[in-house]
């Protein structure tokens, strides 16, 4: 199918989790919705009908033991039981508060207090995290999944109003303390419904690897996947990722750029070790040429390369951070399309996505149904629609900073092209504002430098009114000033004068980075500069 515009898929919208589960159980009762490892070597499957029954039992038990309108934390590794606690909380008229299991106990306790949590469902491996928290009723996820609730068969799931609070996700954002993002049932329903209209699994199953306490891992992978009618295999532990890929044979994996980079390295190293680098390069050339003629030989040509991923991988849905378009091209060459999307927890989380057969490389895709975007005079992307959060929990000051007249200020800079694709160019907080009032996004220039083979990493800032590009070169290019001055000319070509790099600084050592290997901008630029 050509890369061009096509209508939305005809999948009816949902109004809530209860609606999503009941509709699926009614329309496709025997369809396997979830698969996961059970015991040492077994695999458990749950049909849509079974999922509804299990959630009904959980919701019945939760309402009987906690009541309604309570805040219920869910803590633990990804599992079917985790989902029963989350769905059970929502379907019993309670508010779910997913919490990161990898946080230290004191931070977990802080979040539980900040979110006014009354009860918690915790995986047995993480039960110490909630020990000693006063007034907190703790139940293990295992106990919930086995709990008996007489009369559960007649339990009516809670059907909320759009504006009713469904969950509180904690987001660390890029600075400051974690904030509790309040998402309503309407927020979740709008995102899930929108996702199923723009993306089709095309018969493939989904492998879930991202943690459920993140909106991307839960709302996009699980809820959207469930609603767009794919079987979802739950990977419980990243230690078993390789085995699970072989077992699940996914057509789709939702992930963040880190996974894409690691998958790329694995493939590259594998090709290198097998001594087939030239064969691979030729294969890519031949398949590209044939693809132009409408002949797709990639599934056969690169079958061996894709075997470790289960052999059926077709789509990687990627979000959460910037992904270099290089990876998109690389994976397309071997027959895997990276579907790049964009969003924020505050937007439930999806705002835009490239579609299966309508995409622009380097873009964050087209807007999801119901999403409105406008670009502020400063170039910031503002979003409005039913997916925008209710606000930060008990934090009106922080809410007021990002929500104005229904528009959520994303903190990202970007623009829309004439075909409706959203392009992101940087973060507002990194914007360089020159004395003449012109604005420059350093990331826009850095991306151009980073694409060059000689550049390991770059950082752009303003010093004394001039734009400086500081470069940490690849080893074989170290100290090669002539090469980088030529690169500077190349990057400057076609750019207005105020956006042109005036000076190159070559580094001998890597930039200062944080624990996730991200460059810490303010620690790397000389003082008295703007970056």
């Amino acid at each position: 199918m050509k890369n061009c515009k096509y209508p939305y898929y005809d999948i009816p919208d949902i109004t809530s989790v209860a609606d999503m589960l009941e509709t699926a159980a009614r329309e496709r009762p025997d369809f396997v919705a979830f698969r996961y490892r059970a015991g040492r070597d077994g695999v458990e499957s749950k049909t849509c009908r079974e999922v509804l029954s299990d959630v009904r039992k959980s919701a019945c038990w939760i309402e009987k033991s906690c009541g309604r309108g309570r805040h219920i934390a869910v803590i633990g590794e990804n599992s079917y039981e985790w989902l029963l606690a989350f769905f059970g909380a929502l379907a019993s008229g309670n508010v779910a508060v997913p919490i990161d299991k990898d946080l230290p106990a004191n931070e977990v306790a802080d979040m539980i207090r900040e979110a006014d949590v009354d009860a918690a469902f915790v995986s047995p491996s993480y039960s110490d995290l909630t020990e000693g928290i006063e007034g907190l009723a703790v139940t293990t996820l295992k106990a919930l999944s086995k709990a008996e609730c007489p009369g559960w068969e007649d339990y009516g799931l809670f059907h909320p109003g759009d504006d009713d609070l469904a969950c509180i996700f904690f987001t660390s954002g890029t600075s400051g303390r974690s904030k509790g993002v309040m998402l309503s049932h309407g927020n979740l329903a709008s995102d899930v419904s929108g996702g199923a209209r723009v993306f089709s699994p095309e018969g493939g199953s989904v492998l879930s690897v991202l943690p459920f306490h993140h909106a991307f891992g839960l709302v996009v992978t699980i809820m959207m996947g469930f609603h767009f009618r794919a079987t979802i295999f739950i990977n419980r532990s990243l230690k078993r990722l390789k085995e699970d890929m072989l077992l699940a044979q996914p057509g789709i994996i939702t992930l963040v750029p880190l996974f894409v980079e690691v998958f790329y390295k694995q493939i590259r190293d594998g090709v290198k070790k097998s001594g087939k680098e030239n064969t691979f390069k030729w294969g890519v050339r031949i398949s590209r040429a044939l693809l132009k003629l409408g002949i797709d030989v990639r599934p056969k040509l690169f079958a061996q390369i894709l075997e470790p991923f289960g052999g059926r991988l077709k789509y990687l849905i990627c979000g959460g951070a910037y992904l270099d378009p290089f990876y998109v091209k690389f994976f397309r060459d071997i027959g895997v399309e990276i579907i790049n999307g964009y969003g924020a927890t505050e937007c439930s989380p999806s705002l835009s996505i490239n579609r299966n057969h309508h995409y622009r490389d380097g873009s964050a895709g087209q807007l999801m149904p119901h999403v409105e975007i406008k670009i502020s005079p400063e170039g910031e992307v503002l979003a409005r629609g039913p997916m925008v959060m209710k606000g930060y929990y008990k934090n009106p000051e922080e809410t007021a900073k990002v929500l104005k007249d229904g528009w959520y200020a994303t903190g990202d800079l970007g623009y829309m092209d004439e075909d409706g694709f959203l392009f992101l160019t940087g973060r507002t907080k990194n914007l360089i504002i020159l004395s003449n009032g012109e604005n420059i996004s350093p990331e826009e220039l850095e991306n151009d430098f980073n694409r060059d083979d000689g550049v390991k990493e770059s950082l752009v800032y303003e010093q004394d009114g001039l734009i400086v590009a500081e470069i940490f070169p690849e080893e074989e290019f170290a100290g090669n000033e002539a090469y980088f001055n030529e690169l500077k000319q190349k990057v400057n070509q076609g750019r207005p004068a105020y956006k042109q790099v005036a000076r190159i600084v070559l580094r001998k050592e890597d930039f200062v980075r944080n624990t996730t290997r991200k460059i810490v901008r303010y620690k790397n630029v000389p003082q008295n500069t703007k970056a």
């Binding site: 491996s125 690691v262 980075r513």
Partner: protein
Amino acid sequence: MFEKVTAILREYTNNENTPMSMESTLVDDLGLSSLEVINIVLAFEDEFGIEIPERIIPTMHTVGDIVAYLEKTV
């Protein structure tokens, strides 16, 4: 133990000359991502015939952390 640990780590850093000490950090000094650290943990499990709980992995920041854990467990 230090030699055994660094020998496995070197396979993943793709650079035999990467200097390693007990204080070397896996992410900052050896340039490994959190996902690669998980793969390395699997290699340690195979090598030493043990199972390392997933909760332990985020506490392994340095080569020394791995050595200390393995010395205690193996």
